[in-house]
Symmetry: C2
Subunit: 211 residues, 2 copies
Amino acid sequence: MPKQTFFNLPEDKKERILNTAIDEFSKYYYHKASISRIVKNAGIAKGSFYQYFEDKKDLFKYLIGRAGEEKMKHFNPIMTNIDNVNFFEVVRAMYITGIRFAMENPRLQQIADNFIRDNDTRLKQEILGDNIPKSNEMFISMINKGIEKGDLDPSIDVALTASIITNLNIAISDYFIKEVKGKDYMEMMPLVDKMLYILKNGIKSKKEGEK
Amino acid sequence: MPKQTFFNLPEDKKERILNTAIDEFSKYYYHKASISRIVKNAGIAKGSFYQYFEDKKDLFKYLIGRAGEEKMKHFNPIMTNIDNVNFFEVVRAMYITGIRFAMENPRLQQIADNFIRDNDTRLKQEILGDNIPKSNEMFISMINKGIEKGDLDPSIDVALTASIITNLNIAISDYFIKEVKGKDYMEMMPLVDKMLYILKNGIKSKKEGEK
DNA sequence: CAAGCATATGACTACATAGTCATGTGACCC
DNA sequence: GGGTCACATGACTATGTAGTCATATGCTTG
């Protein structure tokens, strides 16, 4: 956590510092991001930085935490209905909010991306604690419920399906941002539906049987 | 390319240097990997290193190239049959060889992984040139042929499906390495088939219609 | 005015990095 | 012996980093 000194700062200064830090960590991954550059760009002294934050990790943890909170704000409303709606509706809502978040907060999305892809597992452990497996567990329980309710094919492999759904989430965000960037984000809707069609029905021709 | 001096070295010395370098780049991504550590671990002088390679990038390019060649050795036999066999057979063979490569060459796999995930696009561009889009183009042409032949549902979105198949390739390797590591790699076969089942048929329950 | 306290500062330490270069060493040939 | 050439060496340069610390500024309170 940042020191009290940081929270005591006037709002605009806090904002300026965080904004500069977000810029830095969205451009460079953790180890390459530079405190020296941050203080230079934010127009504060090196010493001041260390009056605000314990160290580099302290700042980064704080940013990751804020990004997570921001993302959760969008996801929570979906999760409350989770038991009442069709499985695919939930997945659809998740994909849509995921893309929306990425478009509305490209720098935070980039920071999260860099962080997820970072292979310094010690750093990840220190910063995330044990929040990583939770998302997968949630999917697994969702899939199990989906099978019970009759929404899903009971012969699928649950853990593998969870992994697929997670990866498709990443795939569709990537695909959309690469292919459709700049355009209105409402254009993602048909794309999400095409993705869900495939997830639901597969890609095998319906006209003839399996060879 | 490494300098001639490097290729003139006795085989065991070359081997020792490359081996140490592979170790380093599989543990750390490009910018964090250290030439100083490599020369220390390989037992050669710093100056010698620069008699063998132009610079850090030269060595890395060489390693990426070797890893690529190694991987291609496995893939090429599949690609020659590409027109004669069922679409899903090709995808199946690709997934299997992908996992096999990852298991047989964990360090090379790790280097390729680190590199793909690196977000220094300039470095990527310099090292890969324009080889990146090629793999996607190949998938797209495969999918189009699959539709023509009647293997695939013509209503799918081709580009999106290509992206899905690529991502599922990553997903299954990840999943397999996390879940099944240490065991015999033949255990991946049922997993690949479950994955293909989902890709073919989707995950929707077959008993009742869509809600 | 004076004391005290929160905040601000940038030179500095200690360390790591990639890459250079002048000097050695040893084998081979004339 | 003398010359040439390939390879070997590690001290050194230049640059970057995270983090420290003694000092200074300025606001608030008695």
